[in-house]
């Protein structure tokens, strides 16, 4: 018979031998004596909620967190107004991850004899060591009820900064949750958010589907994993079960300064519906379409392409389905499919001339810079490259503090741009597995022990012999935000 004031939540561990537990406790205290952190991650601090309220495992959102985001970082109660913020509130969170990792790549371009400069050899290189991820400074919140902002200066590991996100948004226009607007540079409304990915390795820390470019293709503009510049209108039902978004984007892959075409735009459209599936939970299915045009021809000055002069827009598209399926409170799986297609011009390497002015294309006039100047013709039989891909990411949520995850991604070319090209050229297969454990869970800060393994393989793209390229990475780190 228990006392009513006791909770099983406070029961001590039963399975771990005491000496082992004691050793772990000692190790834990020595290595991670930071539980007294007293500053606040921005949103959790404002509302006094634990990270786990909004995140399945931070930074990945759960449905409640998605609804909060869709409402413009508001819970839609009277506490949304900035006047409810504690005077000490400072809506900034930074995140950086010190890591140890071991990276191995089977075929790296090397000189056949070190120093001879021929670059005709390939070698396997394996290296390991301590390292840092990039640094993110997140700041965002409500300026007034239904008026919010988000600014994210981000650096690479060498502290070279850029603006990853800068946006202002107005929510519940006309009192309706179906009409919300944001303007600036923002993450596309991917149901499976790459910016909230739970993995950190070089190849496992992105979704390959969101960045895939066929071998030799010059289209960098269709990367739906990159934050883009534009205007988005999105809406949702009151309980967020039904959502849509439509974004008009500059076809510049999120780069500021109108570096590419003068009049090239793309669009990203999503829609989804969630269903109450009883004991399984709330499952969601949806679709996305990214379609647009981007330039392939640039004016040049002394042979160098001029930014903003791009014309001769050619089309591209990415579309697919997304499903998030829960199997009770502990297990879930997300599935994303994609069919992609680029114009044959992109397939032949035209497109990203600004960033790759020395890129070489094969066309009817032979090989030359990838600039679609007047009179340029595609090689005979050039076709639109197309491909299909799928991503499957299962999670096992042991508790709000511990998640075990895995991912399988595969992309298969269904049509190569150049006739006669091996059908599997550029195909990608990758596996990722790992776990994240949060030793403490408060509304003050995030701290996760992170372990991950990734294996990545692409057919026929090694730099010299055009054979299969394989890379693997083991990563251990401490991920924190504050």
């Amino acid at each position: 018979m228990r006392m009513w004031a006791q909770s099983h939540l406070c029961q001590k561990a039963q399975r771990v031998p005491s000496f082992l537990a004691a050793a772990f406790v000692l190790l834990f205290l020595v290595v991670s004596s930071s539980q007294s952190a007293n500053a606040l991650p921005a949103f959790a601090r404002k509302y006094g909620l634990r990270c786990s309220a909004c995140h399945e495992s931070w930074p990945m959102l759960n449905f409640f967190g998605q609804k909060f985001k869709d409402n413009g970082y508001q819970l839609m109660n009277d506490r949304d107004s900035p006047i409810w913020q504690n005077p000490g509130y400072w809506p900034v969170t930074f995140r950086i991850t010190p890591i140890w990792h071991r990276v191995s790549t089977n075929k790296v371009q090397v000189d056949t004899v070190p120093g001879n400069g021929d670059g005709l050899g390939e070698a396997k290189i394996t290296s390991s060591g301590f390292d840092l991820s990039g640094l993110d400074f997140h700041t965002g919140g409500t300026l007034e009820k239904n008026f919010s902002f988000y600014v994210l200066p981000s650096s690479d590991p060498t502290a070279s900064f850029h603006f990853e996100t800068v946006m202002a948004r107005i929510d519940n226009v006309g009192g309706s949750p179906w009409f919300n607007v944001k303007l600036g540079k923002f993450e596309l409304d991917n149901l499976l958010s790459e910016k909230r990915i739970l993995t950190l390795t070089g190849n496992g820390g992105i979704y390959q589907l969101y960045h895939f470019i066929p071998a030799g293709d010059g289209n960098v503009f269709g990367q739906m994993g990159d934050n883009q510049l534009g205007l988005e209108v999105m809406g949702h039902s009151l309980n967020d079960r039904t959502r849509y978004s439509v974004a008009l984007l500059s076809s510049n892959d999120g780069q500021v300064g109108l570096p590419y075409g003068s009049e090239s735009y793309s669009t990203f459209i999503t829609g989804s519906q969630a269903f109450d599936t009883g004991k399984l939970g709330v499952d969601r299915v949806g679709f996305y379409v990214m379609a647009g045009q981007a330039p392939t021809s640039y004016l040049t000055n002394f042979g160098a392409p001029i930014g903003g002069s791009g014309t001769q827009n050619k089309g591209f598209s990415r579309e697919g389905f997304v499903g998030q399926f829960y199997f009770g409170p502990h297990a879930d799986v997300t599935v994303v499919t994609q069919h992609g297609e680029d114009s044959a011009w992109f397939g032949q390497g035209y497109g990203d001339y600004i960033d790759n002015p020395t890129g070489i294309c094969l066309n009817s006039t032979g090989s030359g810079p990838c600039n679609n100047t007047p009179g340029t013709q595609l090689i005979a039989g050039a076709r639109n490259p197309t491909w299909n891909g799928v991503l499957v990411e299962p999670h096992y949520v042991v508790s709000p503090q511990m998640i075990v995850l895995a991912r399988y991604e595969t992309i298969r070319m269904s049509q190569q741009s150049t006739p006669g090209t091996p059908s599997n050229l550029g195909n990608i297969t990758t596996y990722t597995a790992g776990f994240r454990y949060n030793p403490f869970m408060t509304s003050r800060a995030g701290w996760a022990y992170h372990a991950e393994y990734n294996w990545w393989h692409q057919d026929g793209t090694s730099p010299v012999t055009a054979t299969n390229l394989t890379s693997s990475e083991v990563l251990l780190g401490i991920d924190f935000d504050f």
Binding site: L27, Q66, L238, H330
Partner: protein, 286 residues
């Protein structure tokens, strides 16, 4: 040679440490094991909620404020005003049942989805119904009241009559007679003579509802919700039940009058404007 061995040993030890740290998590995680005594259930329509299944969502969403013991002393409680509910007491504001009785499972179920305005309790409307039912069962298991008592019978709420000018005027008379103005003020601005002195059952200061600032009433904003609020009272607060003082017909009159005080547009507000309805004048002045 020695340095190389030492380096390898350091790398091995470092990796071992990083892998071992999360193992501590498993030691803690066994605390989520389901216990046989978590047998409390909730019944929402044809859904049965199980306290055992509510452990995981409680741990994820609720424990930060309501605490592991359900006593309202989670780590965030110190920064929150009003303080989180102490589930051990089994006292709830939002009920369909008479004052002093336990709420029904549906009451708790609805509160979860609606949230509580003017508090830090958000609307957990994204949960599945099963998840909410499980949480209701888990919340109930904290209090011995739910183990010994049954929920009170939901009060009868007669069908809402048609609003008329006379009913609004009658409601104003009820507002005066029942002395609602003493806390809520003559214009509903929560500035009555008693407003500053109010405390809840735990002795903490509490404010009366301000009808004029556009906030949603805590326990729902439909006419039936407002009727229910003052006929059941908000247990644990100074807001009493008026079930013994106000007849059902008068209660609807009061609902109509309260609508005229609210900033939200309503039929009653328009009618009061046409009537030229003036604020009440209490016996000894406002």
């Amino acid at each position: 040679m020695y340095a190389k061995k030492l380096t390898r040993l350091s790398i091995f030890a470092g990796l071992l440490a990083m892998l071992a740290l999360p193992s501590l998590g498993f030691a803690q995680l066994t605390s989520y094991q389901e216990k046989e005594w978590l047998g409390v259930e909730s019944h929402i329509g044809n859904i049965t909620g199980h306290a055992t299944a509510g452990v995981a969502p409680y741990r994820r969403y609720c424990v930060g404020c309501h605490g592991e013991l359900g006593d309202g002393n989670g780590e965030n409680a110190q920064w929150i005003d009003p303080k989180p509910r102490n589930f051990q007491l089994g006292i709830y504001k939002c009920r369909s049942t008479p004052t002093g009785t336990l709420p029904t499972d549906e009451d708790l179920f609805d509160t979860l989805a609606r949230g509580l305005d003017r508090s830090n309790m958000p609307a957990w409307s994204t949960f599945s119904k099963q998840e909410r039912a499980d949480l209701v069962a888990f919340v109930k298991h904290f209090s011995p009241r739910f183990q010994s008592d049954k929920a009170g019978p939901p009060i009868d709420i007669p069908a809402e009559p048609e609003v008329t000018d006379d009913r609004i005027k009658a409601g104003q008379a009820v507002f005066l007679r029942a002395e609602c103005w003493k806390c809520h003020g003559v214009t509903g601005q929560a500035n009555g003579p008693s407003a500053a002195t109010l405390t809840d059952d735990l002795g903490k200061p509490i404010l009366p509802f301000n009808f004029t600032e556009g906030a949603r009433p805590k326990c729902g904003s439909t006419d039936r919700d407002i009727y229910r609020i003052f006929m059941t009272g908000l247990d644990g607060t100074p807001m009493p039940s008026y079930a013994d003082n106000i007849k059902p017909d008068e209660a609807w009159d009061l609902v109509f009058y309260l609508r005229t005080l609210m900033s939200q547009n309503s039929k009653e507000k328009m009618m009061a404007k046409k009537l030229g309805l003036k604020p009440i004048t209490p016996p000894n002045g406002p």
